[in-house]
Protein backbone atom coordinates (compact mmCIF):
# COMPACT_ATOMS: atom_id res chain seq x y z
CA UNK A 1 0.00 0.00 0.00
CA UNK A 2 1.79 3.03 -1.22
CA UNK A 3 -0.83 5.70 -1.68
CA UNK A 4 1.50 8.53 -0.68
CA UNK A 5 4.43 7.07 -2.47
CA UNK A 6 7.35 9.06 -3.70
CA UNK A 7 9.05 8.43 -6.95
CA UNK A 8 10.01 4.92 -5.99
CA UNK A 9 12.66 4.73 -8.63
CA UNK A 10 14.69 7.29 -6.80
CA UNK A 11 16.19 7.48 -3.33
CA UNK A 12 19.42 5.50 -3.39
CA UNK A 13 22.17 7.40 -1.62
CA UNK A 14 25.88 6.73 -1.77
CA UNK A 15 28.33 8.40 0.57
CA UNK A 16 31.90 8.04 -0.47
CA UNK A 17 34.85 9.11 1.61
CA UNK A 18 32.65 11.69 3.26
CA UNK A 19 34.66 13.86 5.64
CA UNK A 20 33.90 16.97 7.67
CA UNK A 21 36.41 19.06 9.58
CA UNK A 22 35.51 21.82 11.98
CA UNK A 23 38.86 23.54 12.30
CA UNK A 24 41.16 20.87 13.63
CA UNK A 25 38.31 18.69 14.80
CA UNK A 26 37.21 15.85 12.55
CA UNK A 27 33.48 15.38 12.98
CA UNK A 28 32.99 12.88 10.18
CA UNK A 29 35.92 10.81 9.08
CA UNK A 30 36.00 9.19 5.67
CA UNK A 31 32.57 7.56 5.72
CA UNK A 32 31.58 5.17 2.95
CA UNK A 33 27.97 4.09 2.96
CA UNK A 34 25.37 2.81 0.51
CA UNK A 35 21.81 3.57 1.46
CA UNK A 36 19.30 1.46 -0.43
CA UNK A 37 16.33 2.94 -2.11
CA UNK A 38 13.31 2.74 0.22
CA UNK A 39 15.15 1.40 3.22
CA UNK A 40 14.89 2.61 6.81
CA UNK A 41 18.47 3.28 7.83
CA UNK A 42 19.36 4.46 11.28
CA UNK A 43 22.49 6.33 12.24
CA UNK A 44 23.02 5.38 15.86
CA UNK A 45 25.66 6.73 18.16
CA UNK A 46 26.35 8.74 21.27
CA UNK A 47 26.39 12.52 21.08
CA UNK A 48 29.50 13.72 19.30
CA UNK A 49 29.74 10.60 17.19
CA UNK A 50 29.14 12.60 14.01
CA UNK A 51 25.73 11.19 13.14
CA UNK A 52 23.95 14.56 13.04
CA UNK A 53 26.83 16.15 11.14
CA UNK A 54 26.53 13.39 8.59
CA UNK A 55 22.79 14.00 8.28
CA UNK A 56 23.30 17.76 7.89
CA UNK A 57 25.79 17.14 5.10
CA UNK A 58 23.28 14.93 3.33
CA UNK A 59 20.63 17.62 3.80
CA UNK A 60 23.00 20.21 2.37
CA UNK A 61 23.22 22.42 5.44
CA UNK A 62 26.90 21.73 5.94
CA UNK A 63 29.69 21.95 3.42
CA UNK A 64 31.60 18.81 2.68
CA UNK A 65 35.29 18.89 3.51
CA UNK A 66 36.13 15.87 1.38
CA UNK A 67 34.35 13.06 -0.36
CA UNK A 68 31.05 13.06 -2.19
CA UNK A 69 27.35 12.29 -1.89
CA UNK A 70 25.60 10.62 -4.79
CA UNK A 71 21.86 10.39 -5.28
CA UNK A 72 21.03 7.58 -7.65
CA UNK A 73 24.57 7.78 -8.92
CA UNK A 74 24.74 11.56 -9.48
CA UNK A 75 26.78 13.85 -7.26
CA UNK A 76 24.73 16.32 -5.28
CA UNK A 77 27.73 17.83 -3.59
CA UNK A 78 27.15 21.25 -5.16
CA UNK A 79 23.35 21.20 -5.05
CA UNK A 80 22.10 23.69 -2.43
CA UNK A 81 19.82 22.46 0.35
CA UNK A 82 16.66 23.93 -1.16
CA UNK A 83 17.23 22.10 -4.44
CA UNK A 84 18.06 18.66 -3.05
CA UNK A 85 14.40 17.82 -2.53
CA UNK A 86 15.12 15.85 0.62
CA UNK A 87 12.48 15.95 3.31
CA UNK A 88 13.65 16.52 6.81
CA UNK A 89 12.15 16.17 10.26
CA UNK A 90 14.10 18.34 12.63
CA UNK A 91 14.90 17.85 16.24
CA UNK A 92 12.22 19.92 18.00
CA UNK A 93 10.24 19.76 14.71
CA UNK A 94 11.01 23.35 13.60
CA UNK A 95 7.41 23.91 12.57
CA UNK A 96 6.48 27.39 11.36
CA UNK A 97 4.76 28.75 14.47
CA UNK A 98 2.91 31.52 12.64
CA UNK A 99 1.27 29.20 10.12
CA UNK A 100 -1.58 26.76 10.47
CA UNK A 101 -0.97 23.05 10.25
CA UNK A 102 -2.31 23.08 6.70
CA UNK A 103 0.01 25.90 5.66
CA UNK A 104 2.94 24.12 7.26
CA UNK A 105 2.22 20.96 5.35
CA UNK A 106 1.51 22.78 2.09
CA UNK A 107 4.60 24.99 2.35
CA UNK A 108 6.91 22.92 0.20
CA UNK A 109 4.34 22.80 -2.62
CA UNK A 110 3.47 26.45 -2.15
CA UNK A 111 7.06 27.61 -2.62
CA UNK A 112 7.17 25.44 -5.71
CA UNK A 113 4.19 27.48 -6.96
CA UNK A 114 1.92 24.49 -7.43
CA UNK A 115 -1.80 25.14 -8.08
CA UNK A 116 -3.94 25.77 -5.01
CA UNK A 117 -6.21 22.82 -5.65
CA UNK A 118 -3.31 20.43 -5.95
CA UNK A 119 -1.84 21.74 -2.71
CA UNK A 120 -5.14 21.41 -0.88
CA UNK A 121 -5.61 17.86 -2.09
CA UNK A 122 -2.12 16.86 -1.12
CA UNK A 123 -2.46 18.48 2.31
CA UNK A 124 -5.67 16.52 2.88
CA UNK A 125 -3.88 13.36 1.89
CA UNK A 126 -1.00 14.07 4.25
CA UNK A 127 -3.30 15.00 7.13
CA UNK A 128 -5.01 11.69 6.59
CA UNK A 129 -1.70 9.87 6.51
CA UNK A 130 -0.68 11.23 9.89
CA UNK A 131 -4.26 11.11 11.24
CA UNK A 132 -4.57 14.82 11.92
CA UNK A 133 -7.51 15.63 9.67
CA UNK A 134 -9.28 17.49 12.45
CA UNK A 135 -6.34 19.73 13.24
CA UNK A 136 -5.60 21.38 9.90
CA UNK A 137 -6.58 24.86 11.00
CA UNK A 138 -4.76 24.91 14.29
CA UNK A 139 -1.43 26.55 14.89
CA UNK A 140 1.45 24.30 15.94
CA UNK A 141 1.39 25.82 19.43
CA UNK A 142 -2.09 24.39 19.95
CA UNK A 143 -0.95 20.82 19.37
CA UNK A 144 0.59 18.24 21.66
CA UNK A 145 4.17 17.13 21.17
CA UNK A 146 3.16 13.94 19.40
CA UNK A 147 0.83 15.81 17.08
CA UNK A 148 3.52 18.34 16.27
CA UNK A 149 5.84 15.50 15.45
CA UNK A 150 3.32 14.12 12.99
CA UNK A 151 2.84 17.53 11.39
CA UNK A 152 6.60 17.76 10.91
CA UNK A 153 6.55 14.36 9.28
CA UNK A 154 3.63 15.27 7.00
CA UNK A 155 5.29 18.54 6.06
CA UNK A 156 8.52 16.77 5.13
CA UNK A 157 6.72 14.13 3.09
CA UNK A 158 4.24 16.41 1.35
CA UNK A 159 6.40 17.00 -1.70
CA UNK A 160 7.13 13.27 -2.06
CA UNK A 161 10.86 13.50 -1.48
CA UNK A 162 12.97 10.51 -2.49
CA UNK A 163 14.78 10.69 0.83
CA UNK A 164 13.51 11.65 4.26
CA UNK A 165 16.03 12.72 6.88
CA UNK A 166 14.96 12.50 10.50
CA UNK A 167 17.06 14.10 13.22
CA UNK A 168 16.12 12.60 16.58
CA UNK A 169 12.46 13.21 15.82
CA UNK A 170 11.18 11.50 18.94
CA UNK A 171 13.64 13.04 21.37
CA UNK A 172 11.12 15.42 22.89
CA UNK A 173 8.42 12.82 23.54
CA UNK A 174 7.85 10.86 26.72
CA UNK A 175 8.62 7.16 26.66
CA UNK A 176 5.11 5.82 26.29
CA UNK A 177 4.25 8.18 23.46
CA UNK A 178 7.57 7.47 21.81
CA UNK A 179 6.79 3.78 21.42
CA UNK A 180 3.40 4.62 19.95
CA UNK A 181 4.92 7.06 17.46
CA UNK A 182 7.63 4.55 16.53
CA UNK A 183 4.95 2.20 15.30
CA UNK A 184 3.24 4.95 13.32
CA UNK A 185 6.52 6.03 11.81
CA UNK A 186 7.34 2.51 10.72
CA UNK A 187 3.88 2.14 9.28
CA UNK A 188 4.20 5.37 7.35
CA UNK A 189 7.60 4.36 6.06
CA UNK A 190 6.12 1.21 4.66
CA UNK A 191 3.25 3.06 3.08
CA UNK A 192 5.24 5.82 1.35
CA UNK A 193 8.29 3.82 0.41
CA UNK A 194 10.63 6.75 0.81
CA UNK A 195 14.21 6.19 1.90
CA UNK A 196 14.39 7.09 5.61
CA UNK A 197 17.67 8.15 7.14
CA UNK A 198 17.07 8.30 10.84
CA UNK A 199 19.39 9.73 13.47
CA UNK A 200 19.05 8.69 17.08
CA UNK A 201 21.07 7.87 20.14
CA UNK A 202 18.32 5.58 21.41
CA UNK A 203 19.25 1.95 20.77
CA UNK A 204 15.74 0.63 21.33
CA UNK A 205 14.37 3.00 18.73
CA UNK A 206 17.06 1.90 16.33
CA UNK A 207 16.44 -1.76 16.92
CA UNK A 208 12.68 -1.63 16.63
CA UNK A 209 12.37 0.48 13.49
CA UNK A 210 15.37 0.08 11.25
CA UNK A 211 16.02 -2.10 8.25
CA UNK A 212 19.68 -1.45 8.86
CA UNK A 213 21.61 0.36 11.57
CA UNK A 214 24.88 2.22 11.29
CA UNK A 215 26.62 2.47 14.64
CA UNK A 216 28.84 5.53 14.65
CA UNK A 217 31.63 6.54 16.91
CA UNK A 218 34.13 9.38 16.63
CA UNK A 219 33.06 10.20 13.11
CA UNK A 220 33.52 6.69 11.82
CA UNK A 221 31.22 3.80 11.08
CA UNK A 222 31.73 1.32 13.86
CA UNK A 223 29.50 -1.38 12.42
CA UNK A 224 26.76 -1.66 9.84
CA UNK A 225 24.04 -4.28 9.65
CA UNK A 226 20.49 -5.34 10.33
CA UNK A 227 19.33 -5.01 13.92
CA UNK A 228 19.59 -8.72 14.37
CA UNK A 229 23.11 -8.97 12.95
CA UNK A 230 24.29 -6.12 15.12
CA UNK A 231 22.72 -7.49 18.23
CA UNK A 232 23.75 -11.07 17.74
CA UNK A 233 27.15 -10.46 16.23
CA UNK A 234 28.69 -7.24 17.45
CA UNK A 235 32.16 -6.95 16.08
CA UNK A 236 33.56 -4.46 18.54
CA UNK A 237 33.38 -3.84 22.22
CA UNK A 238 31.76 -0.45 21.49
CA UNK A 239 29.08 -1.98 19.27
CA UNK A 240 28.32 -4.66 21.78
CA UNK A 241 28.11 -2.19 24.63
CA UNK A 242 26.17 0.51 22.86
CA UNK A 243 23.53 -1.67 21.27
CA UNK A 244 22.07 -3.66 24.13
CA UNK A 245 23.95 -4.72 27.23
CA UNK A 246 26.96 -6.98 27.28
CA UNK A 247 29.26 -8.65 29.71
CA UNK A 248 32.83 -8.73 28.50
CA UNK A 249 34.77 -11.82 29.31
CA UNK A 250 38.49 -12.00 28.82
CA UNK A 251 39.50 -15.43 27.65
CA UNK A 252 42.90 -16.69 26.62
CA UNK A 253 42.04 -16.21 22.91
CA UNK A 254 40.46 -12.79 23.25
CA UNK A 255 37.49 -10.88 24.63
CA UNK A 256 33.96 -12.22 24.29
CA UNK A 257 30.71 -10.30 24.52
CA UNK A 258 27.94 -12.10 26.36
CA UNK A 259 24.38 -10.77 26.57
CA UNK A 260 22.97 -10.92 30.13
CA UNK A 261 19.81 -12.73 29.03
CA UNK A 262 21.78 -15.54 27.45
CA UNK A 263 23.31 -16.68 30.73
CA UNK A 264 21.81 -19.59 32.65
CA UNK A 265 21.98 -19.31 36.40
CA UNK A 266 21.48 -21.92 39.13
CA UNK A 267 22.28 -22.23 42.85
CA UNK A 268 25.89 -23.24 43.41
CA UNK A 269 26.69 -26.84 42.49
CA UNK A 270 23.41 -27.56 40.71
CA UNK A 271 24.70 -27.32 37.11
CA UNK A 272 26.26 -30.74 37.16
CA UNK A 273 29.60 -29.75 35.83
CA UNK A 274 28.30 -27.61 32.92
CA UNK A 275 28.92 -24.43 34.92
CA UNK A 276 31.37 -22.15 33.18
CA UNK A 277 31.78 -19.78 36.11
CA UNK A 278 30.82 -19.73 39.73
CA UNK A 279 30.19 -16.72 41.89
CA UNK A 280 28.03 -15.02 44.48
CA UNK A 281 24.96 -12.86 43.98
CA UNK A 282 25.92 -9.36 44.97
CA UNK A 283 22.63 -7.66 44.20
CA UNK A 284 19.21 -8.16 42.60
CA UNK A 285 17.25 -5.43 40.88
CA UNK A 286 13.64 -6.13 40.12
CA UNK A 287 12.19 -4.75 36.85
CA UNK A 288 8.89 -6.57 36.73
CA UNK A 289 9.26 -8.82 33.72
CA UNK A 290 12.94 -9.38 34.40
CA UNK A 291 15.30 -9.31 37.29
CA UNK A 292 18.88 -8.17 36.94
CA UNK A 293 21.34 -10.08 39.00
CA UNK A 294 24.87 -8.87 39.63
CA UNK A 295 27.13 -11.80 40.19
CA UNK A 296 30.57 -11.34 41.72
CA UNK A 297 33.07 -13.76 40.20
CA UNK A 298 36.51 -14.08 41.64
CA UNK A 299 39.18 -12.55 39.43
CA UNK A 300 36.68 -10.95 37.01
CA UNK A 301 34.40 -7.95 36.71
CA UNK A 302 30.87 -8.48 38.02
CA UNK A 303 28.67 -10.31 35.57
CA UNK A 304 25.15 -9.16 34.87
CA UNK A 305 22.51 -11.82 34.38
CA UNK A 306 18.94 -11.17 33.27
CA UNK A 307 16.35 -13.67 34.43
CA UNK A 308 12.67 -13.69 33.51
CA UNK A 309 10.93 -13.08 36.77
CA UNK A 310 8.31 -15.73 36.27
CA UNK A 311 10.97 -18.29 35.51
CA UNK A 312 13.12 -17.72 38.54
CA UNK A 313 12.65 -21.22 39.94
CA UNK A 314 15.34 -21.13 42.52
CA UNK A 315 14.22 -18.06 44.46
CA UNK A 316 17.72 -16.71 44.27
CA UNK A 317 18.78 -14.38 47.05
CA UNK A 318 21.58 -11.95 47.64
CA UNK A 319 24.72 -13.54 49.01
CA UNK A 320 23.86 -16.92 47.51
CA UNK A 321 26.60 -18.82 45.65
CA UNK A 322 25.59 -19.54 42.05
CA UNK A 323 26.76 -21.38 38.93
CA UNK A 324 26.71 -19.58 35.57
CA UNK A 325 26.47 -21.33 32.20
CA UNK A 326 25.80 -20.50 28.52
CA UNK A 327 25.75 -22.15 25.15
CA UNK A 328 28.73 -21.96 22.80
CA UNK A 329 27.01 -19.61 20.39
CA UNK A 330 25.97 -17.18 23.11
CA UNK A 331 29.42 -15.66 23.60
CA UNK A 332 30.69 -13.62 20.62
CA UNK A 333 34.37 -13.06 20.15
CA UNK A 334 35.15 -9.37 19.47
CA UNK A 335 37.46 -8.38 16.65
CA UNK A 336 39.00 -5.33 18.26
CA UNK A 337 40.78 -7.23 21.06
Amino acid sequence: MREAASDAKSGGLTLSGLTKHFGSFTAVDNVDLDIQRGEFLTLLGPSGSGKTTLLMMIAGFLDITAGDILLDGRSIRDVPAERRNFGMVFQGYALFPHMTVRDNIGYALDVRKRPRAEIAARVDEMLDLVQLTEFGHRKPGQLSGGQQQRVALARALAFAPPVLLLDEPLGALDKKLRIEVQDQLKDIHQRVGTTFVYVTHDQEEALSMSDRIVIMQQGRIEQLGTPNELYEHPRTRFAAGFLGKSNFLTMPDGTYALRPEKIDIAPGGQMNGTARLTGTIRGITYFGAVQKLMVAVEGRDDIEVDVDSWRNPHALREGQPVDLGWSDTAAVRLEDT
Binding site: A59, G60, F61, P80, A81, E82, R83, R84, N85, F86, G87, M88, F90, Q91, G92, A94, L95, F96, P97, H98, Y107, A108, V111, R112, K139, P140, G141, Q142, R155, A156, F159
Partner: protein
Amino acid sequence: MRVLGRHISPGWLLVAPLLLVVLAFYAGPLANILWLSVTDPEPGIGNYQKLYQTDALGRILWTTFRICLITTFFSVALGYSVAYAMVHAHARNQHVMLTFLLVSFWISVLVRTFAWLMLLGRNGLVNESMEAIGLISEPVRFMRNELGVLIGMVHYMVPYAVLPLLANMQTLDTRVMAASRNLGATGTQTFWRIYLPLTAPGLIAASLLVFILSLGFYVTPAILGGGKVLMVAEYISVQLLVTLNWGTAAMLGTLMLFSVLALLWLMSRFMQLSAAFGGGATR
Protein backbone atom coordinates in the same frame (compact mmCIF):
# COMPACT_ATOMS: atom_id res chain seq x y z
CA MET B 1 -5.62 42.04 58.85
CA ARG B 2 -6.01 38.37 58.31
CA VAL B 3 -9.14 38.91 56.26
CA LEU B 4 -7.25 41.46 54.26
CA GLY B 5 -4.33 39.10 53.92
CA ARG B 6 -6.56 36.57 52.30
CA HIS B 7 -7.30 38.97 49.47
CA ILE B 8 -4.01 40.79 49.17
CA SER B 9 -0.89 38.82 48.57
CA PRO B 10 1.87 39.73 51.05
CA GLY B 11 4.00 40.55 48.03
CA TRP B 12 2.03 43.75 47.62
CA LEU B 13 2.99 44.85 51.10
CA LEU B 14 6.63 44.57 50.14
CA VAL B 15 6.27 46.82 47.12
CA ALA B 16 3.73 49.12 48.76
CA PRO B 17 6.23 51.83 49.77
CA LEU B 18 7.57 51.93 46.24
CA LEU B 19 4.09 52.08 44.83
CA LEU B 20 3.29 55.02 47.06
CA VAL B 21 6.41 56.81 45.88
CA VAL B 22 5.45 56.16 42.27
CA LEU B 23 1.93 57.39 42.92
CA ALA B 24 3.10 60.51 44.68
CA PHE B 25 5.87 61.50 42.32
CA TYR B 26 4.60 60.19 39.04
CA ALA B 27 0.86 59.87 39.00
CA GLY B 28 0.45 63.03 41.05
CA PRO B 29 2.27 65.36 38.66
CA LEU B 30 0.61 63.61 35.75
CA ALA B 31 -2.80 64.32 37.23
CA ASN B 32 -1.67 67.88 37.76
CA ILE B 33 -0.91 68.17 34.05
CA LEU B 34 -4.36 66.92 33.17
CA TRP B 35 -5.79 69.40 35.65
CA LEU B 36 -3.74 72.28 34.24
CA SER B 37 -4.87 71.50 30.73
CA VAL B 38 -8.48 72.24 31.68
CA THR B 39 -7.90 75.04 34.19
CA ASP B 40 -5.13 77.28 32.85
CA PRO B 41 -5.60 80.08 31.98
CA GLU B 42 -9.31 79.60 32.73
CA PRO B 43 -11.48 76.56 33.48
CA GLY B 44 -12.93 74.80 30.50
CA ILE B 45 -11.83 72.97 27.40
CA GLY B 46 -10.51 76.12 25.76
CA ASN B 47 -7.03 74.65 25.44
CA TYR B 48 -8.36 71.67 23.54
CA GLN B 49 -10.49 73.87 21.31
CA LYS B 50 -7.27 75.56 20.19
CA LEU B 51 -6.45 72.31 18.41
CA TYR B 52 -8.94 73.03 15.69
CA GLN B 53 -9.23 76.76 16.17
CA THR B 54 -5.62 77.48 15.23
CA ASP B 55 -3.88 76.12 12.18
CA ALA B 56 -0.54 76.34 13.91
CA LEU B 57 -1.14 73.51 16.38
CA GLY B 58 -2.51 71.23 13.75
CA ARG B 59 0.51 71.89 11.57
CA ILE B 60 2.93 71.25 14.39
CA LEU B 61 1.21 67.99 15.26
CA TRP B 62 1.16 66.91 11.64
CA THR B 63 4.85 67.78 11.22
CA THR B 64 5.63 65.80 14.35
CA PHE B 65 3.59 62.83 13.24
CA ARG B 66 5.01 62.84 9.73
CA ILE B 67 8.61 63.14 10.84
CA CYS B 68 8.22 60.50 13.53
CA LEU B 69 6.63 58.13 11.05
CA ILE B 70 9.37 58.57 8.45
CA THR B 71 12.02 58.34 11.14
CA THR B 72 10.47 55.15 12.44
CA PHE B 73 10.35 53.61 8.99
CA PHE B 74 13.99 54.27 8.15
CA SER B 75 15.32 53.61 11.65
CA VAL B 76 13.59 50.26 11.86
CA ALA B 77 14.58 49.29 8.32
CA LEU B 78 18.23 50.14 9.01
CA GLY B 79 18.05 48.69 12.50
CA TYR B 80 16.68 45.48 11.05
CA SER B 81 19.66 45.15 8.74
CA VAL B 82 22.08 45.88 11.56
CA ALA B 83 20.42 43.43 13.93
CA TYR B 84 20.33 40.80 11.19
CA ALA B 85 24.02 41.28 10.49
CA MET B 86 24.79 41.08 14.20
CA VAL B 87 22.82 37.91 14.78
CA HIS B 88 24.50 36.22 11.87
CA ALA B 89 27.99 37.50 12.56
CA HIS B 90 30.74 35.46 14.11
CA ALA B 91 30.49 35.57 17.91
CA ARG B 92 33.64 37.67 18.22
CA ASN B 93 32.48 40.22 15.66
CA GLN B 94 29.12 40.24 17.37
CA HIS B 95 30.78 41.49 20.55
CA VAL B 96 32.57 44.23 18.68
CA MET B 97 29.37 45.26 16.97
CA LEU B 98 27.45 45.30 20.22
CA THR B 99 30.14 47.43 21.80
CA PHE B 100 29.90 49.96 18.99
CA LEU B 101 26.15 49.96 19.33
CA LEU B 102 26.29 50.62 23.06
CA VAL B 103 28.98 53.25 22.72
CA SER B 104 26.74 55.12 20.33
CA PHE B 105 24.19 55.40 23.16
CA TRP B 106 26.66 57.36 25.21
CA ILE B 107 27.31 60.01 22.59
CA SER B 108 25.20 63.01 23.38
CA VAL B 109 22.53 63.97 20.93
CA LEU B 110 24.12 67.40 20.64
CA VAL B 111 27.50 66.03 19.64
CA ARG B 112 25.89 63.89 16.98
CA THR B 113 23.83 66.78 15.75
CA PHE B 114 26.87 68.98 15.29
CA ALA B 115 28.79 66.11 13.77
CA TRP B 116 26.15 65.94 11.06
CA LEU B 117 26.51 69.65 10.48
CA MET B 118 30.23 69.23 9.97
CA LEU B 119 29.70 66.30 7.68
CA LEU B 120 26.72 67.39 5.61
CA GLY B 121 26.57 71.13 6.22
CA ARG B 122 26.91 73.73 3.51
CA ASN B 123 30.68 73.73 3.87
CA GLY B 124 30.77 70.23 5.29
CA LEU B 125 33.01 67.40 4.28
CA VAL B 126 30.57 65.85 1.81
CA ASN B 127 29.68 69.05 0.02
CA GLU B 128 33.29 70.21 -0.16
CA SER B 129 34.42 66.85 -1.52
CA MET B 130 31.68 66.69 -4.10
CA GLU B 131 32.44 70.22 -5.18
CA ALA B 132 36.14 69.47 -5.35
CA ILE B 133 35.67 66.55 -7.72
CA GLY B 134 33.20 68.56 -9.77
CA LEU B 135 30.15 66.49 -8.96
CA ILE B 136 28.12 69.53 -7.95
CA SER B 137 28.54 73.25 -8.45
CA GLU B 138 26.30 74.40 -5.61
CA PRO B 139 26.33 72.82 -2.14
CA VAL B 140 23.49 70.35 -1.62
CA ARG B 141 21.21 71.42 1.20
CA PHE B 142 21.29 68.37 3.42
CA MET B 143 20.96 70.32 6.63
CA ARG B 144 18.78 73.07 8.10
CA ASN B 145 15.67 71.54 6.61
CA GLU B 146 13.44 68.54 7.09
CA LEU B 147 15.90 66.24 5.38
CA GLY B 148 18.51 67.25 7.92
CA VAL B 149 16.11 66.55 10.77
CA LEU B 150 15.35 63.12 9.37
CA ILE B 151 19.01 62.26 8.89
CA GLY B 152 19.80 63.31 12.45
CA MET B 153 16.84 61.55 13.99
CA VAL B 154 17.24 58.32 12.06
CA HIS B 155 20.90 58.23 13.01
CA TYR B 156 20.02 58.69 16.65
CA MET B 157 17.23 56.14 16.60
CA VAL B 158 18.84 53.24 14.76
CA PRO B 159 20.46 51.77 17.90
CA TYR B 160 17.11 51.97 19.69
CA ALA B 161 15.58 50.02 16.84
CA VAL B 162 18.37 47.45 16.88
CA LEU B 163 18.00 46.31 20.48
CA PRO B 164 14.45 44.93 20.44
CA LEU B 165 15.07 43.43 17.01
CA LEU B 166 18.28 41.84 18.19
CA ALA B 167 16.54 40.38 21.23
CA ASN B 168 13.80 39.02 18.98
CA MET B 169 16.14 37.58 16.36
CA GLN B 170 18.31 35.91 18.94
CA THR B 171 15.38 33.89 20.24
CA LEU B 172 14.48 32.54 16.79
CA ASP B 173 15.03 28.84 16.24
CA THR B 174 17.42 28.72 13.30
CA ARG B 175 16.15 25.26 12.49
CA VAL B 176 12.89 26.82 11.38
CA MET B 177 14.74 28.69 8.66
CA ALA B 178 16.69 25.55 7.81
CA ALA B 179 13.39 23.71 7.54
CA SER B 180 12.16 26.27 5.04
CA ARG B 181 15.26 25.86 2.92
CA ASN B 182 14.96 22.12 3.18
CA LEU B 183 11.39 22.32 1.95
CA GLY B 184 12.62 24.00 -1.18
CA ALA B 185 12.19 27.69 -0.38
CA THR B 186 14.87 30.02 -1.68
CA GLY B 187 16.61 32.44 0.65
CA THR B 188 14.29 35.23 -0.45
CA GLN B 189 11.19 33.12 0.05
CA THR B 190 12.42 32.05 3.45
CA PHE B 191 13.01 35.65 4.45
CA TRP B 192 9.61 36.98 3.41
CA ARG B 193 7.51 34.01 4.45
CA ILE B 194 9.28 32.80 7.58
CA TYR B 195 11.92 35.18 8.94
CA LEU B 196 9.99 38.41 8.57
CA PRO B 197 6.76 37.13 10.13
CA LEU B 198 8.71 35.61 12.99
CA THR B 199 10.45 38.92 13.65
CA ALA B 200 7.16 40.80 13.60
CA PRO B 201 7.11 41.16 17.40
CA GLY B 202 10.58 42.70 17.25
CA LEU B 203 9.53 44.97 14.40
CA ILE B 204 6.49 46.17 16.30
CA ALA B 205 8.46 46.69 19.50
CA ALA B 206 11.18 48.56 17.66
CA SER B 207 8.67 50.69 15.77
CA LEU B 208 6.79 51.57 18.93
CA LEU B 209 9.96 52.40 20.78
CA VAL B 210 11.36 54.55 18.00
CA PHE B 211 8.08 56.28 17.29
CA ILE B 212 7.42 57.12 20.92
CA LEU B 213 10.97 58.29 21.53
CA SER B 214 10.83 60.35 18.34
CA LEU B 215 7.77 62.16 19.58
CA GLY B 216 9.89 63.71 22.31
CA PHE B 217 12.69 64.84 20.00
CA TYR B 218 13.70 68.41 20.47
CA VAL B 219 17.34 69.28 19.97
CA THR B 220 17.82 67.62 16.60
CA PRO B 221 14.84 69.22 14.88
CA ALA B 222 15.64 72.54 16.50
CA ILE B 223 19.20 72.61 15.17
CA LEU B 224 19.22 70.52 12.01
CA GLY B 225 15.86 71.92 10.96
CA GLY B 226 17.31 75.42 10.89
CA GLY B 227 14.33 76.59 12.95
CA LYS B 228 11.90 75.67 10.21
CA VAL B 229 10.92 72.27 11.54
CA LEU B 230 8.92 72.80 14.69
CA MET B 231 7.96 69.63 16.51
CA VAL B 232 5.63 69.31 19.41
CA ALA B 233 8.26 68.70 22.11
CA GLU B 234 10.01 71.95 21.30
CA TYR B 235 6.70 73.73 21.13
CA ILE B 236 5.70 72.42 24.56
CA SER B 237 8.98 73.59 25.98
CA VAL B 238 8.46 77.04 24.49
CA GLN B 239 4.95 77.30 25.91
CA LEU B 240 6.24 76.13 29.25
CA LEU B 241 9.35 78.20 29.70
CA VAL B 242 9.03 81.12 27.33
CA THR B 243 5.48 82.11 26.55
CA LEU B 244 4.04 80.75 29.80
CA ASN B 245 1.03 79.20 28.11
CA TRP B 246 1.08 76.36 30.59
CA GLY B 247 -2.43 75.36 29.70
CA THR B 248 -1.48 74.87 26.07
CA ALA B 249 1.65 72.99 27.09
CA ALA B 250 -0.35 70.78 29.43
CA MET B 251 -2.95 70.16 26.77
CA LEU B 252 -0.29 69.10 24.28
CA GLY B 253 1.43 66.99 26.92
CA THR B 254 -1.88 65.31 27.70
CA LEU B 255 -2.51 64.77 24.03
CA MET B 256 0.89 63.17 23.54
CA LEU B 257 0.43 61.02 26.61
CA PHE B 258 -2.91 59.70 25.47
CA SER B 259 -1.71 59.26 21.90
CA VAL B 260 1.09 57.04 23.16
CA LEU B 261 -1.29 55.13 25.41
CA ALA B 262 -3.75 54.72 22.56
CA LEU B 263 -0.95 53.45 20.36
CA LEU B 264 0.06 50.89 22.95
CA TRP B 265 -3.56 49.85 23.42
CA LEU B 266 -4.01 49.45 19.70
CA MET B 267 -0.94 47.28 19.48
CA SER B 268 -2.04 45.22 22.45
CA ARG B 269 -5.16 44.32 20.48
CA PHE B 270 -3.00 42.55 17.96
CA MET B 271 -0.35 41.05 20.12
CA GLN B 272 0.90 40.63 23.60
CA LEU B 273 3.02 43.63 24.38
CA SER B 274 5.10 41.67 26.81
CA ALA B 275 6.14 39.51 23.89
CA ALA B 276 7.01 42.54 21.84
CA PHE B 277 9.29 43.80 24.55
CA GLY B 278 10.84 40.41 25.20
CA GLY B 279 8.74 39.52 28.23
CA GLY B 280 6.74 36.34 27.95
CA ALA B 281 6.86 33.99 25.05
CA THR B 282 3.85 33.67 22.83
CA ARG B 283 3.21 31.38 19.99
